[in-house]
Amino acid sequence: MRQLSRRAALALGAGTAAVTLVGWRGGAWATPQAAGADIAKFTGGAVPEKGKITIELPEIAENGNTVPLSISVDAPMTDADYVSDVLVVAEGNPNPGVGTFHFTPMSGKAEASTRIRLATTQNIVVVAKTSSGKFYTAQKLVKVTIGGCGG
């Protein structure tokens, strides 16, 4: 069902973006639709293929203030074929954006780790862009016991 709504968000494009903006001004939290709009912006509307990406996240995060996240993308990382950008969005945070990693052939591996904040139990969606303009995606559900965007 979530998958469907993200596709719908991609299809709606600009309309969804406008709704997202209004929603954000109203103080509403990110939704799969808002995350989908971020992804659509990143891919320029292209629908990413599933696969190639491994997301490492704890199944249950006791403390949403600092959740370890590792992403690796299966790619040769040569001058001719490498992963250039990796977008990370969270479907249930106040804002969907988490970060974007930028790689070059000098990275050697399309792999990076950081620590993120998660407000609540939610899906983390990762989209990778290759130097040839292809997009891949993967997602993972994290259960969060104590949210990390305290107010």
């Binding site: 970060g99 990693f101 790689f103 070059t104 000098m106 990076a112 950081t114 620590r115 904040r117 107010g151």
Partner: protein, 107 residues
Amino acid sequence: MAETPKIRVPKTAKKGEVVEIKTLLPHIMESGQRKDKDGKTIPRKIINKFTAEFNGKPVFSATLEPAIAANPYMQFFAKVEESGTFKFSWTDDDGSVTTAEEKITVA
């Protein structure tokens, strides 16, 4: 701004080796979502950009949002073909930039 980043880069590597790099900058990463005790929103103040280059060429960079945890930690890799210097930079919302350098000897 006065904070010193913690960086781990191997001292030596073989030519063509892919080495692991870890960095951490002590920083509050104020999300702009929190409120103080009077109910006023505490303004956002985060590191919004991290870059790593080797001998002047980009290796890795990241655009960071408030959903990155305090004391932003970055672990990534670099393929080294020659001895040289890694340069790292962290850009704050207030425009200040923290930089650091680490040397590696490639045999």
